[in-house]
Symmetry: C2
């Protein structure tokens, strides 16, 4: 049987619509996987998501709207109903591909359809108890770095990004750019320090997730050399990247994947990234940016950023981080799962 | 087949040990049902609870300790693992009797064993979405008052209490007694006002659940006429009830059941209760206490409290609110469920 005739159920989270209107990382990936499979010719894909979601696949929803967009909902109530209503139909599918964290795993032994979970992150170490208990299902990691040593994985599948609104530009801009949630994890304070020491302008964009930290950083915003431009939508992001000589991604905790690095490279912007977590998988050190370990190294790196060929940045994304590339990898993962399941029976 | 040979699984919560060492209302009821069934001669009862639980039935646990007693656990993780590990063994049982709120319902259609849920309360109105979705399972209410009009119920089964450490005393004490969580819902401020207007001493016992409210009430504690004695264990509770002329239960929101009213009556103590929710089911107005609607009526009621025959109080508990009475009612409920399930097939 052609794998593209297999009946695939994609289980998205229901915090936001799929795809989300603005923020919502896991819903974004669930959407990209779904649309990527349809674009590759999968003929039987069903997306389980909020009822107001948008997809070229078949949409099945039980929850009207994302609970983050409708505060009358108690999130665990919407969550468990969304999962149970989907899994009660498990027999209609050949594979259930969950992007929904750990809870669906606890239903896995009560259904016959194999379940694949893309582990988008371990929100708390204690959730490993669930993943370790349901090792007989199938796991995918989103980077080699973001793996738990006790879990078996079928593969790492990098996130794919939508290249529309990411215009490749051969000509570098003048500024350093920080793009991400304003939170200590993302190291804006290190980006500011780097820009000052390198004596280069810095443009800062992103949603404020930690207000006190934002206020701490905002003392340095002078409206000219170091400037905060607020959150950006995809069109504004493209304009921002036009100004970029390099992206500063000086994360302070291990990155799980780091979509923004791929986005910057897609626009031809090299990345100076802290060598923590997945950064060394997303950028190619010395070819699409530089891995650093501290501010001094970051300053050094931005000083030699013009040595990076911006076309290499774009090419790395096209070869590794497109939606189609991701869908192709999942096609291989699905084939491997069907092979393993057939062996069991 | 003798119903006492049926394989019954009792699913307790895992916030606390079953039975709890101190606080833990739902675990207490789960324990009382389990032990009550065993005492009635049920030969095949399995209690799913924390591993450190204590029971005369067969104990099966997956979670080591209650998550309220071990803060390293993320409660939703322990919760879903406890439920899934129990329900994966559903085929070993003829009936699963859940005391675990709404989450187990979302697994119910994936197993073959019928599920009965004792609805101990609707913690949030939104959880009704789950109960309404799984109406094809079986529900028991803990009072006629605590019913949702859209849900079908097999029966109301009142909670049964353990009569040990509840000594019946013919001779009334001198004081009014408040016993319960110190929280506005329980109306301590109304009890204080009533005691003052009736010019009678008041003894206050219970855990502090709302610190600001406690401080507000504490202005009236003078160490003699109005006195706070702290939380009480069962032995201390018995001593406290010895001092009681009446229990003041001037709840400000509808009571779901009201164990403390049954406990007081077991000791022979009449109850003055707000006519809200289940109070009119637990006490018999004019025979084991008085239902009131405001402080004025409460003052009137305590003035004529000696008209209540304290033996009637004890007898009401023995006839309605013992563990064996509860277990006997559940035996009837189980029989009704087996009858209904047999009809389906």
């Amino acid at each position: 049987m052609d794998i593209r005739d297999k009946r695939i159920a994609i289980l998205a989270p229901v915090a936001w619509r799929t795809p989300p209107r603005a923020y919502g990382a896991w819903e974004t990936v669930a959407s990209n996987v779904t649309e990527g499979l349809v674009a590759r010719g999968f003929r039987n894909v069903t997306l389980f998501a909020t009822k107001d979601s948008v997809t070229k696949a078949r949409l099945v929803g039980f929850v009207e709207r994302g609970y983050e967009e409708d505060k009358t909902q108690v999130p665990p109530v919407s969550t468990c109903l969304h999962i149970s209503k989907a899994l009660e139909r498990a027999d209609e599918f050949d594979l259930i591909h969950s992007h929904f964290d750990y809870l669906p795993l606890t239903y896995a032994r009560l259904i016959r359809t194999p379940m694949l979970t893309t582990i988008h992150g371990f929100s708390e170490p204690d959730i490993l108890r669930v993943y370790r208990e349901y090792k007989d299902t199938h796991y995918v990691s989103i980077s080699d770095a973001d793996r738990d040593p006790e879990l078996p994985y079928v593969a790492t599948v990098y996130n794919g990004i939508d290249l529309s609104n990411l215009t490749f530009r051969q000509q570098p801009g003048e500024a350093l750019v920080f793009l991400g949630r304003i939170h200590p994890d993302k190291g804006l304070h290190l980006a500011i320090e780097t820009a000052k020491k390198a004596d280069m302008p810095l443009l800062v964009a992103g949603i404020v997730q930690d207000r006190a930290y934002f206020d701490h950083c905002a003392r340095h915003f002078d409206g000219t050399r170091i400037r905060y431009v607020g959150p950006v939508d995809p069109v504004q992001r493209d304009e921002l990247l036009k100004e970029a000589r390099a992206l500063l991604h000086l994360n302070t905790i291990p990155e799980r994947f780091g979509l923004v690095m791929a986005e910057a490279m897609a626009a031809g912007v090299p990345v100076v990234a802290m060598d923590l977590g997945s950064c060394r998988e997303v950028i190619e050190d010395g070819r699409t940016g530089y891995l650093v370990h501290n501010v001094e190294e970051a300053v050094e790196a931005v000083r030699r950023i013009d040595r990076i060929d911006r076309r290499q940045c774009r090419q790395r994304v096209e070869a590794n981080f497109t939606i189609d590339r991701m869908a192709a990898r999942y096609e291989d993962v699905y084939a491997e799962i069907f092979r393993r399941e057939a062996e069991k029976h």
